[in-house]
C-alpha cells in the first residue's frame, strides 16, 4: 500500500474504528452503517478525496459475507444482532490532488436493508443511490428523490439481488400478466 494512503487509512481507523483489508494494492476500509455520512464527509474535507468514483453494492445471499457480523450494539437491537451482513455498499473515492484511491465498504443486514444517503456530500450519489435502491432494494434514508431509475416505475423485485432469477421465465404480455404472475415465486418483496 502507498505510504500516503496508509496514513489516511490509519487516521480513519483511529477516528472510526474500521477494519482494513488489502487486495492487489487496494485498501478496503469497513465502516459501520451509522458512520457512513461522517466517514465520506471527512474523506472529502479532511483527506481531499474530491471525487466519488463509484457507488455500488454487492449481494452475498445466501451465505452471508466474509465480513464481521453486525455488532451487538446495533440500534435495531435484537432483530439483527449477530446476523450475517447480506449486502455490502461500496464507495470508491478518488483524490485528484494526491492521486490516491480508497474503497469504503459498509456491511448491511438482510432485514430491512437501509443506508444513509450521502447525496448531500457528493451530488453524484443521488443517482447512484437510486440505482442501488432500484437494483438491490437497499432503502436510502434521507434521499431527496428515491424513485426507480433504470427499471420501470411499476417493476416488482430488485434484479441484481442474487435470489432474483436470471431468465428462463415465461414472457409476459399485457393479456397474460396476471396469469403468469401467479406462477412466479419471486418478485414479491
Amino acid at each position: 500500500m502507498d505510504k500516503k494512503l496508509e496514513e489516511i487509512v490509519k487516521s480513519l481507523q483511529t477516528d472510526f474504528d474500521g477494519k482494513v483489508e488489502e487486495f492487489r494494492d487496494e485498501a478496503h476500509v469497513f465502516v459501520h452503517p451509522e458512520q457512513i455520512v461522517e466517514v465520506i464527509t471527512s474523506l472529502r474535507d479532511k483527506h481531499k478525496f474530491e471525487l466519488l468514483s463509484a457507488l455500488t453494492a454487492v449481494d452475498y445471499w445466501p451465505q452471508g459475507s466474509i465480513s464481521p457480523k453486525i455488532p451487538a450494539s446495533s440500534p435495531k437491537g435484537d432483530e439483527e444482532q449477530g446476523q450475517e451482513a447480506r449486502f455490502h455498499v461500496i464507495y470508491q473515492l478518488t483524490s485528484l490532488s494526491k492521486n490516491l484511491s480508497i474503497q469504503i465498504r459498509v456491511p448491511i443486514a438482510a432485514i430491512k436493508p437501509t443506508i444513509a444517503s450521502v447525496s448531500a456530500v457528493f451530488a453524484s450519489a443521488n443517482w447512484r443511490e437510486r440505482e442501488i435502491w432500484d437494483m438491490f432494494g437497499i432503502h436510502v434514508d434521507g434521499h431527496p428523490d428515491l424513485r426507480r431509475i433504470l427499471m420501470p416505475a411499476d417493476w416488482e423485485g430488485h434484479p441484481l439481488r442474487k435470489d432474483y432469477p436470471l431468465g428462463y421465465e415465461e414472457p409476459q404480455f399485457t393479456f397474460n400478466i396476471d396469469e403468469i404472475d401467479l406462477r412466479k415465486p419471486y418478485a414479491k418483496e
Partner: protein, 409 residues
C-alpha cells in the same frame, strides 16, 4: 389486469417548482423518440415560455441488465457484453474489462499487445469524438459536418475490421493480450490514416471553430463550474474543459502510456465552446499517441503464455496434447479467479470508465459493476440546463456527449 402506473406532476412535485403545480409553467416531454437527444433519453422539461426552469432526465429505456447477465457467464463470455455498453467506444470497454480481469487474476500483458491496445483505443477515441463532432454540428444545423466526420470514422472502422473482422463489436482485446497478431495491412492502413487525418481536423476547424453561428450557440452556454463538475462525479473531457487537469492516461498510466509524449488539453471556461476545443485538441493528441505507438511497437508475442488463463496458439493444438487440454478446459469451463474484489479504471472518450469486479474463486464474476461516465454526465444535465432556452438545451446535450447504452447498461 395489472394497473400500469402513470407518472403525473404530483409524483415529481419535489423536483418541479410550485408554479408547475398551479399550471403557470408548462411541462413538456423531450424524447424519448427525439433525434436530438442522441438515443432514447427522455427529458421532462418545465418551461416558462421558452426558458427551461427544471429539467428532469428519465433514463433506463435501454436497460438490458448487462451486469446481471455477466454474473451468469464465464469471464471470456462476459467480455462480449462489454462491447454493447458504450457502442462508440467498444475497444475501450474491452480494455477496461480485460484490465480488471488481469488485475484480479494477476496476469501480465506482453509489450506488443500493450502497444496494440493503445493504438486501437486511441483510434477508437478519435472515432468516438468524430461521432460527437458530427452529431453536435448536426444539432447546430451544420449538416455537411456530419458527413465529413462519418467519412473519416469509416477509415477507423475499416482498421478495426482488418484486425478483428468486426467493424464495431470487436472483442479483439482479450484477458492477457489480444486475440491474434495484426495482419500485414494494418500498419499501412494506420499510417495512411495518420497522414490523412491532421488535414481533415484542420478542415473541421476551418468550418466550425471561428464560425459565427457556432460561436453564438456555444460561447458561454452550459457553463459547468469546477466544483459542480467534481461534486457530480464528472470526468473526462468535460472535467478538463472546466479546468481540472485530470486524465487517467497521464495520472495513472496503464498499458505503457507513460512512454508516449502527449498533452492533456485543459480549458477553464467550462462552457460548450471549451468542451468543443478540448475534444478537437484531444483528437490531435490521440493521433500523436497512435503514431508513437506504431513507431515503437516491439515485436514478440501478443498473448501472455500463462496457459491457465490464456488459450494456447492455434498452431500448437495439432501437435501438443497439453495445449489441446488447456484450450478445451478454457473454453468449456473458463478459468478460476481468486476470491477478492478490485476496482480498475481507464480513460474512455467520455471519462473514467471503471470496473468493479469481484471474484468468488470460480470461473464467473460474482459481481461486476461498470462505472460508466455517461451516467454521471446526464446526472448533471438538470443542473446545466436551468435558465437556458430549449434551443440551447439541444446544444448542451450535443456538447456533453453521452451514449445511452453506456448510461442504462
Amino acid at each position: 389486469m395489472t394497473e400500469f402506473l402513470e407518472v403525473s406532476v404530483d409524483d415529481l412535485k419535489d423536483l418541479v417548482s410550485d408554479r408547475a403545480l398551479e399550471g403557470e409553467t408548462m411541462m413538456l416531454n423531450l424524447g424519448p423518440q427525439h433525434p436530438a437527444t442522441h438515443g432514447v433519453l427522455r427529458l421532462l422539461l418545465e418551461l416558462d415560455g421558452e426558458t427551461v426552469v427544471n429539467c428532469i432526465p428519465d433514463i433506463g429505456f435501454l436497460h438490458t441488465g448487462i451486469e446481471k447477465n455477466m454474473e451468469a457467464k464465464t469471464y471470456q463470455k462476459a467480455e462480449v457484453m462489454t462491447d454493447r455498453l458504450d457502442y462508440l467506444n467498444t475497444v475501450g470497454n474491452n480494455l477496461a474489462f480485460c484490465m480488471a480481469v488481469e488485475k484480479l487474476v494477476d496476469l501480465d500483458v506482453p509489450l506488443r499487445a500493450q502497444a496494440l491496445r493503445v493504438i486501437l483505443t486511441e483510434l477508437q477515441r478519435i472515432a468516438s469524438h468524430l461521432v460527437w463532432i458530427g452529431t453536435h454540428a448536426l444539432d447546430l444545423a451544420a449538416m455537411s459536418m456530419f458527413m465529413y466526420a462519418f467519412r473519416e470514422r469509416e477509415y477507423i472502422l475499416d482498421i478495426l475490421e482488418i484486425v478483428s473482422g468486426q467493424r464495431m463489436m470487436t472483442t479483439y482485446i482479450r484477458p492477457g493480450g489480444v486475440w491474434r497478431d495484426v495482419p500485414v495491412e494494418f500498419e499501412t492502413a494506420v499510417r495512411d490514416f495518420i497522414k490523412m487525418f491532421p488535414k481533415r481536423i484542420d478542415e473541421y476547424e476551418a468550418l466550425l471553430t471561428k464560425n459565427p453561428i457556432i460561436l453564438d450557440r456555444l460561447l458561454g452556454i452550459g457553463v459547468l463550474s469546477k466544483e459542480t463538475a467534481l461534486s457530480y462525479g464528472i470526468t473526462g473531457p468535460m472535467l478538463r474543459a472546466s479546468g481540472v487537469d485530470w486524465d487517467l492516461r497521464k495520472q495513472r498510466p496503464y498499458m505503457g502510456y507513460e512512454q508516449y509524449d502527449f498533452e492533456v488539453p485543459v480549458r477553464t471556461e467550462g462552457d460548450n465552446y471549451a468542451r468543443y476545443l478540448v475534444r478537437v485538441q484531444e483528437m490531435r493528441e490521440s493521433l500523436k499517441i497512435v503514431e508513437q505507438a506504431l513507431n515503437k511497437m516491439p515485436l514478440g508475442p501478443v498473448r501472455s503464455d500463462n496457459r491457465k488463463f490464456v488459450p494456447p496458439p492455434r498452431s500448437e493444438l495439432g501437435t501438443s496434447m497439453e495445449a489441446l487440454i488447456h484450450h478445451f478446459k478454457l473454453w468449456t469451463d473458463g478459468f478460476d479467479a481468486p476470491k477478492g474484489s478490485i476496482y480498475s479504471a481507464v480513460e474512455s472518450p467520455r471519462g473514467e470508465l471503471g470496473v468493479y469486479l469481484e471474484g468468488d474463486g470460480g470461473p464467473k464474476p460474482y459481481r461486476i459493476h461498470m462505472r460508466t461516465p455517461s451516467f454521471e454526465i446526464v446526472g448533471v444535465l438538470s443542473e446545466m440546463a436551468k435558465g437556458h432556452l430549449v434551443a440551447d438545451l439541444i446544444a448542451i446535450i450535443g456538447s456533453i456527449d453521452f451514449v445511452l447504452g453506456d448510461i442504462d447498461r
